[in-house]
Symmetry: C2
Subunit: 225 residues, 2 copies
Amino acid sequence: MLTLLLAEAAIELIPKKIWRHPSVLKHAKRRGKKAGAILLDRSYHHSAMKDLKNAYKRGRPDITHLSLLIALGTPLNKNGLLKTYIQTRDEYIIHVNHKIRLPKNYIQFTGLIEQLYELGRVPKQGTPLLELKKHSLQDLFRIKDESYVVTLMKDGEPKTLDTLINTLIKKKNPVVVIGAFPHGRFSKDIIDISDESVSIYSETLEAWTVTSRVIYEYEKALFNL
Amino acid sequence: MLTLLLAEAAIELIPKKIWRHPSVLKHAKRRGKKAGAILLDRSYHHSAMKDLKNAYKRGRPDITHLSLLIALGTPLNKNGLLKTYIQTRDEYIIHVNHKIRLPKNYIQFTGLIEQLYELGRVPKQGTPLLELKKHSLQDLFRIKDESYVVTLMKDGEPKTLDTLINTLIKKKNPVVVIGAFPHGRFSKDIIDISDESVSIYSETLEAWTVTSRVIYEYEKALFNL
């Protein structure tokens, strides 16, 4: 079993500070929703975002959408051997049921995440496919101290992905952390829970590319391909 | 240099037959465009699509969007070692400049492709980033007969991806064909241009998963990783 954490995902509801910005008001009106119930998205709120702190790391739910689609479609996930979490910008942890059929359409995906923020889970009844929980990463990976957490970042220790996976596969509860934000570095929280920080390529790779490659190598190691 | 063909991509303008369907009219009005200038998309035109032949293979530009994003973000592409073509449902070939910065947002992507259908190229002036051409696959891969074309499909000859790539890497002009449609089989045209049909997994994999894995293994073989 491999655990994947899409960390510091650029997902959050539009913060109060920019609810009254004209571009936000216009978009909210078109959506027929309150600004505070809509996901922040640079495609629609670019001009409003200049008033936000650390804006370069925010408003990109598409990164999580693509990375999740990639992860959930893999044979590893379909065989129930991948556990996926998303840590959002506003400090929730989304627990992803591996059986979810994620909307391929981006608008439907953001609608689903907005529903998740509203209800705390989707669907409203029955087995949850997504759950939004407020707890720390320490709770998730550190309480029993059995996890081995590797965070992938450009400035980490250079290793080939094969080498890394061959170490991981021997661990009891391996966790791979991939940043799901557009620019910048991981926060201290992530560094604190990491046993290792590894760089698999000399330049920044997109979250979905890293997600895909990690899972593929893990499958190869696990199934002896 | 590897050539990637996203084949029979579920991309086409809304066909005349369903222009007057209520769901199409409504969507066209909202977009402020004529129905015939909008991409067919199952997310919006589901109810209208039941009147179309082979509807199960059509109306999914998102498959191409994701597969392209995956392909263009790879180190192979960024190093100028990947050439990408898209064969559309309505028999155009889209020539993709490897330097294009593809919109990550799906709505912006479909807008770009609609512009491509209108103008035949984008941007309108300067070096083309996308070109829409009407010619056959034979013209592309067979005129000089130097290509080695491998089509990936569930019913092909089972091979590990490593084995396949180790063959491909020795060819002068290797071409990998990946289906960018949601269901069904390749048409005879694709089979006719293929030197080999290969299955890399016992079940259907999504186009973007296959795209990612092929390019990754090719990089590993090329760069001796």
